[in-house]
């Protein structure tokens, strides 16, 4: 295990400014009252949120609109692949659930016979410097999803905010590259360990969810969902996309664009046939995809417990609540099944 290094909080900005001379550095910043990642330019005081950052990192690896090729509209065929951005970058201040989101995207885009090389390039040019959370936000429930606010999985460097200090530790060779600094001092001390409470949305197992496909509960659940799709855009692991051609003034681009399984158009086929026409069928597909199908495909459910879908939901009741309600129903059914019939008790 690499050693801890500590840095005075008052020195962090100087350290980051140094890094920014060589790297493109992304940090969380407050824009119109919401936290999102942006390129560090030294113009403002560095301020790192202790818990959830409103906008997920998905867009930095898999942009909501991504040109994969360009063409000249006046030719029959001139499609040329887009050349990738190569500048090395650092993303600093992401949290454990953000790293878990990236870990899931890796499974979709890299654990495949057809690796998405544009995504791979974004991964390779990036050093992930994660800050462990000091508290759980109102909608946070990572502890219900197999994570904790101090998980370091998939980070290249992890750091902890404690008192006057930040404690840094590199976790990969890539991470080591940013540890050489006069501001970072090796230390035998380390940050204190925290105990974390369970969240509010514990769920049943993927296998139990799989049993619920034909249950009537989907109508009840879809009654409390607008199927507006906003949750899928906010979600760090929802990476469904469509492929389309866009043309403007003679220039054309083939793009991938984020899509949402909550919209009717998602499954609509030529001729109007649609396998997921009803809200219930779409709510079922997303719920089971998050909590069961993902596990069967990749060995891990895709919900990280970040709570962003709740934060953006117009009704503030999103898939974590639906998953929890469904789990409650699973327990009810289980109880009904195992209940000893009244007569047999008397015998």
């Amino acid at each position: 295990m690499n050693k801890w290094h500590k840095i005075k909080k008052t020195d962090l900005q100087k350290y980051v400014s140094r890094l920014a001379e060589k790297w493109e550095v992304w940090i969380p910043r407050l824009v119109d009252g919401k936290w999102e990642f942006g390129i560090y330019d030294g113009a403002r005081d560095l301020d790192l949120p202790e818990s959830i950052i409103d906008v997920s990192l998905k867009n930095l690896f898999f942009p909501k609109r991504r040109a994969i090729a360009t063409f000249d509209e006046n030719s029959k065929w001139s499609l040329q692949p887009v050349s990738p951005e190569r500048r090395p970058r650092i993303i600093l201040g992401l949290h454990p659930c953000d790293a878990a989101g990236i870990e899931y995207m890796d499974k979709v885009f890299l654990q495949s016979e057809y690796k998405d090389v544009m995504y791979k390039n974004e991964r390779e040019r990036t050093i992930l410097v994660g800050m462990l959370c000091n508290k759980m936000g109102d909608d946070c429930h990572c502890t219900d999803r197999g994570l904790t606010p101090d998980s370091t999985s998939s980070m290249d460097v992890a750091f902890v905010n404690e008192g006057e200090w930040y404690f840094f530790r590199s976790l990969t060779d890539k991470g080591k590259r940013i540890m050489e600094s006069k501001y970072l001092k090796e230390t035998d001390e380390g940050p204190t360990k925290n105990e974390w409470p369970a969240g509010k949305y514990s769920i049943a197992s993927p296998e139990e969810f799989m049993e619920m496909y034909d249950d009537s509960i989907w109508h009840e659940l879809s009654d409390i969902c607008l199927t507006c799709g906003i949750c899928t855009y906010a979600c760090p692991t929802c990476v469904c996309f469509l492929v389309a051609d866009e043309k403007f003034k003679g220039k054309g681009e083939r793009v991938t664009v984020w899509d949402s399984c909550q919209l009717q158009s998602y499954s609509r086929m030529a001729g109007g046939q649609n396998t997921r026409k009803t809200p219930a069928s779409r709510v079922r597909n997303r719920t089971l995809d998050k909590f069961a199908y993902s596990h069967l495909r990749y060995g891990r459910i895709s919900c990280t417990g970040c709570g962003r879908c709740i934060m953006v939901c117009p009704l503030k009741r999103s898939f974590p609540q639906l998953g929890a309600r469904l789990s409650e129903r699973i327990r009810e059914k289980e109880k009904e099944r195992t209940k000893v019939p009244a007569e047999s008790k008397e015998e």
């Binding site: 063409f71 692949p81 495949s112 090389v117 389309a244 051609d245 399984c261 086929m269 597909n285 069961a292």
Partner: protein, 271 residues
């Protein structure tokens, strides 16, 4: 860095065949000495520059892996543009994708091919494969249904199959039609009529979803076990490589784990 899989490669339209009133076939040759080594049942994504792409079964191969044929039913945005294309035009292609019919496992078996309309397209390579390796297989029976005589595809092939002594061919149209003296009735009815037995056979079924559903029911009535009824499923697709998310039935992606399944591999609601 190699190119992202989603960017297609160019191919030239060598020949076009008017199959029926709304289906055209295209013989495509890969440009730049590229190949398309498709197995029976696999599909490709075909692009018309400026209009996106769509999924089509490879319905025949020629010149080794250099040339292949797709059959396109005009039904929406991209298929309309393809129908307007001309010989010599360049289109984009990527693939082949998906699994294939396990034709090697079927050696020594009798084969029953059941196609409805454009559904015959993904099945034709199986027929081609069997005819090319005739000694390896037992008997072959083909049931092909179309809505009207005007919807019958692959007329040349049908003629050939009809005159081939090793094939038993049944053609049917859904409802009576002036000038049609052949069999009338939907495919599931024909199956019941013929009383096709499972014996040493495997069956492969493709057609509109409703046809697959009722054909499966008819075969089950005749005591066909699910693991000997193969079909190719259709769901809305975009990427064809298991990433865009949308073609799933449960945890399975039709584009990656399919499109070929035997009925015992899919849940009942997939039919």
């Amino acid at each position: 860095m190699t190119t992202i899989e989603l960017v297609p490669k160019p191919a030239t339209i060598k020949r076009m065949i008017d199959e029926s009133r709304d289906v055209k076939s295209y013989v495509l040759e890969m440009n730049e000495s590229l190949t398309m080594p498709a197995l029976p049942g696999q599909f490709v994504e075909v692009s018309v520059q400026g209009y996106g792409e769509a999924t089509f079964a490879v319905t025949r191969k020629s010149k080794g892996d250099r040339e292949f044929t797709i059959s396109v039913k005009r039904i929406g945005h991209l298929t309309k543009m393809l129908h307007r294309a001309a010989t010599g035009d360049i289109v984009g292609v990527r693939g082949p994708y998906g699994n294939s019919f396990p034709v090697d496992d079927w050696k020594g078996k009798d084969i029953l091919v059941i196609g409805g309309g454009i559904g015959l397209a993904p099945l034709r390579p199986v027929i081609d494969h069997i005819l090319l390796n005739r000694k390896d297989y037992g008997s072959m029976e083909i049931i092909f249904g179309a809505r009207t005589p005007d919807d019958i595809l692959y007329k040349e092939d049908l003629k050939m199959w009809e005159s081939d002594k090793s094939i038993l061919l049944h053609k049917t149209i859904d409802v009576p039609f002036e000038g049609w003296n052949g069999r009338v009735g939907v495919v599931p009815a024909v199956i019941r009529d013929l009383g096709v037995k499972p014996d040493r056979r495997v069956s492969i079924v493709c057609g509109p979803p409703i046809m697959i559903k009722f054909t499966a029911a008819a075969l089950r009535e005749l005591r066909w076990p699910d693991d000997r009824i193969f079909t190719t499923l259709e769901m809305k697709m975009q990427c064809g490589i298991g990433q865009c998310g949308r073609c799933n039935i449960g945890e399975k992606f039709i584009c990656k784990d399919g499109p070929v399944f035997s009925l015992d591999q899919i849940p009942e609601h997939a039919l």
